[in-house]
Symmetry: C2
């Protein structure tokens, strides 16, 4: 059972412009980035919320064929995913799968298909 | 400065079907609803996350001309807004406005225009 919303990922056209808007207009401050992460096909910046490790992530596509780039082309800027904290990632994934959810496992990452989230892609993330 | 993600509102085509999916497949449990709230133009259900008052809200349009219905028609199901907790609502709104954000005040509710959120409509909500 998810415990809280850990973070959201927002896909953006221009990481520098969006980071400037979030910092200047919304009063947030990036702790990291923008950093290019070629393995994840994105350049990202992390904006912490409070002191508990929760955050908003801004992500601009890097290179061709990544998930962020595809969604940006199709849907424009917006919420790319919502990450929910769970006690035990493997157990939560197995339980949701057993209950009929389309669980997508990519390496160590676990996602729930947006069809089951009714337009929202959820990521499950293990947090104490 | 926002402290955490308090809740998200997910706009859906069918509150009963989406609630069933969230309860059955994702293992969440509604504490309230579905309840018709004509003044807000929606029928909604609240799915708590943990014990701190945070939640996911599912919202189906009710009647004509509401914000949820318009967005559902244009964009389909998905994240309608992301609510960020702040210490003091009036101060946070004034500060963001002074810093150039398009702050939308509707009754006691405060929203940030999705242009400033880069595709995300944020609501600011006062939480201790």
């Amino acid at each position: 059972m998810p415990k809280w919303i850990d973070h959201i990922v927002v896909r953006v056209n221009d990481i520098n412009q969006s980071l400037e808007d979030y910092e200047t207009k919304l009063g947030m401050k990036a702790s990291k980035g923008p950093d290019a992460i070629p393995a994840m096909g994105m350049t990202r910046a992390i904006l912490p919320l409070g002191d508990d490790g929760r955050f908003i992530e801004l992500a601009e596509p890097l290179g061709e064929g990544g998930a962020i780039g595809g969604a940006l082309e199709r849907y424009g800027e917006g919420v790319h995913l919502v990450a929910l904290a769970v006690d035990n990632l493997a157990e939560a994934a197995a339980e949701m799968k057993a209950n009929g959810a389309r669980v997508i496992e990519t390496g160590a990452q676990v996602f729930i298909h947006p069809k089951d989230g009714h337009g929202v892609m959820y990521q499950l993330i293990e947090r104490e």
